[in-house]
Symmetry: C2
Subunit: 343 residues, 2 copies
DNA sequence: ATTATTTATGCAATCGATTGCACAAACAAA
DNA sequence: TTTGTTTGTGCAATCGATTGCATAAATAAT
């Protein structure tokens, strides 16, 4: 049973007294092959335990059925969920996903893209690193006529399809919700970056305030890295400056978590003294005490969308289509950290 | 600048009036090539902006520099961290990782392995699905002489390298710690599966009790799916049965989280009334209130180890080496949920 | 100076499938 | 019957790099 040599289309051809071309066409459902030979080929293929060599196929056809996927960090819930989403769609279409991470390091990003091109992936789905300002490696992808889809962290410098969530709307939803809970002095934790996402969340926050006739107060605005420690520091600063505040909207769940810790340490009640809203809907948000209200970005859906955009571009082929930009609507997941008793 | 046609070794060869063989050898640092031509080739390659076509190389050489990696779920912290670990080692050696998930469905596992073989990966690193009992697809991998490394969820049915953590030791550490905190009535949440890992944790639990002259009590043992809801149910059952207990060691953080919720709802103090220890060290464990003591499995290290075992097997080549089994030692991360004041 | 060895390169087959073009056979139209 | 189409296969080149074997040139040994 253990055929040591893998069987090729030539073996099938020989067995049936036809040529490899015929076998190849039969296997690829080419309409020019008669029903009889097609069946015979399929039967022989099964008997000989034939498995196609995708490498050989790829070399000749130029199609590897591989997608290169680049994320900043594989083991961040948001990104791993997006990978999952992409993988689901890709596998169902018999494509495979090669994953690399940049770890937010520009050189890694460059070399990963180069490696993808060397293995001749059929295209790339990527999220740009935080510190990336040069996009030549991505332009090479486009120059080769390969599909490139950017997600979450994108740039206007590249004319290509992208999928993002409506960060503005996320910020607006979160802030409006806090206002609806009766909060008027709402602090905001943000990050200053090239990336637009934080600016958008901030803009949503500001506009929500203005729409409800609340004047934004610079004293309530804090900029940092949005890690847990940053959240702690911002909150301590708020308390020490003796700033009056009754809510915090953090552009990241981690910083919100830091705030929660400090507030509890200081004996403040959440949400009654200070209501709290984060962003990302990290898995841990439902396990904190109180559970943390947050903005869901639907990462798996985002992965599906990215994959679909990818295949749209792939099937469009050479006829350059107008790049599509899909904006997903976020959802505010209200939990106890911001839900006050009726007032 | 935009060379539309990619340059090949033939272009380089032509430019230098040598043959493609020479160019190939020069690029692969074959010692039979003179220093001069090597340099000339390298220079010309750079000038012509040459990028190797790995597909062509793979077809001829039989080496794709691709590793197929199969996990139950990409977006589980434990697995995504292992992927990260594998990826770090692989990329540093110029290998790429193709990721697929089985979602614990046997058919997916089978077809993923088959797909890996079709793209001619150089080997596979995998964690077996919960319900997998037939290992023929993995045997095919071994039959082809390809390296196969199993991690975390393995089986004795396959003669191949594997890396696991010492689940027994994890269970023993956790339980001993609770005993050291003065607990004597320690409940255990486990799961009944083909997989050994839960049995081992349970065995560690039992032996730790026995070693401290505590008689295991069947009334304190609960079996389920170890999800949050299971933890809630088990805890409610404990309370309703009016079982005396002063600690819970759950084989999963999620079930431990369920226990924490119920205990708090019932007004019990953690750890003073009931001390709590989980397993996995999920990211959320440091964010609960109180933070949850848990057993760290070092997933990134596990990924590194799996990758190293993979490359060991790969370099060993045909000369079948004895499969290695690496057992990583887990670490108990003590947090407030189990740390009592001095007593 | 002649033979033996080493060094550097070329030749041509090969990996396994795909595909444009040619062509024979079968069938339809006139 | 003759010409025109359609249908089903074969031929042979091709994708781009690798590699066993042969060989010319350079060097060492006798």
């Amino acid at each position: 049973m253990a055929n040591n040599k893998k069987t090729t289309i030539h073996d099938i051809a020989q067995k049936l007294n036809v040529t490899a071309s015929t076998v190849s066409r039969a296997l690829n459902e080419n309409p020019r092959i008669s029903e009889n030979t097609r069946k015979a080929v399929l039967k022989a293929a099964k008997e000989l335990n034939y498995e196609p060599n995708q490498i050989a196929s790829a070399l000749r056809s130029g199609r590897t059925q591989l997608i290169g996927m680049l994320v900043p960090n594989i083991n961040r819930a948001f990104f791993s969920s997006i990978i999952r989403g992409v993988e689901e769609v890709a596998n169902s279409l018999d494509y495979r996903v090669i994953v690399s991470q940049s770890s937010e390091i520009f050189e890694n990003e460059e070399s990963a893209v180069k490696a993808f091109l060397n293995v001749r992936v059929d295209g790339i789905i990527a999220s740009i690193g935080k510190n990336t300002e040069n996009f030549d490696h991505y332009k090479q992808v486009l120059d080769r006529g390969l599909p490139l889809v950017l997600f979450d962290r994108t740039t206007a410098d590249l004319q290509t399809s992208q999928v993002v969530i409506d960060d503005y709307q996320g910020g607006y939803l979160a802030t409006s919700h806090l206002i609806a809970q009766g909060c008027t002095r709402i602090a905001h934790f943000t990050m200053e970056r090239k990336i637009d996402i934080y600016k958008e969340r901030y803009r949503g926050y500001t506009n929500a305030l203005l729409d409800h006739n609340i004047k934004p107060d610079e004293n309530l605005l804090f900029s940092g890295n949005l890690q847990l420690e940053d959240g702690r520091e911002h909150t301590l600063a708020l308390l020490q400056k003796n700033q009056e505040f009754d809510a915090i909207f953090s552009a990241s769940d981690y910083a919100a978590m830091g705030a929660m810790q400090v507030l509890k340490e200081k004996g403040l009640k959440i949400p009654d003294d200070v209501a709290l809203v984060g962003f990302l809907n990290e898995p841990f948000t439902s396990f904190t005490d109180p559970p943390l209200t947050s903005v869901n970005q639907f990462p798996i859906e985002m992965g599906h969308t990215a994959a679909n955009l990818f295949f749209d571009a792939l099937h469009a082929g050479k006829k350059k289509v107008v790049p599509k930009k899909t904006v997903l609507q976020p959802e505010l997941i209200v939990r106890a950290s911001s839900l006050k008793e009726k007032h």
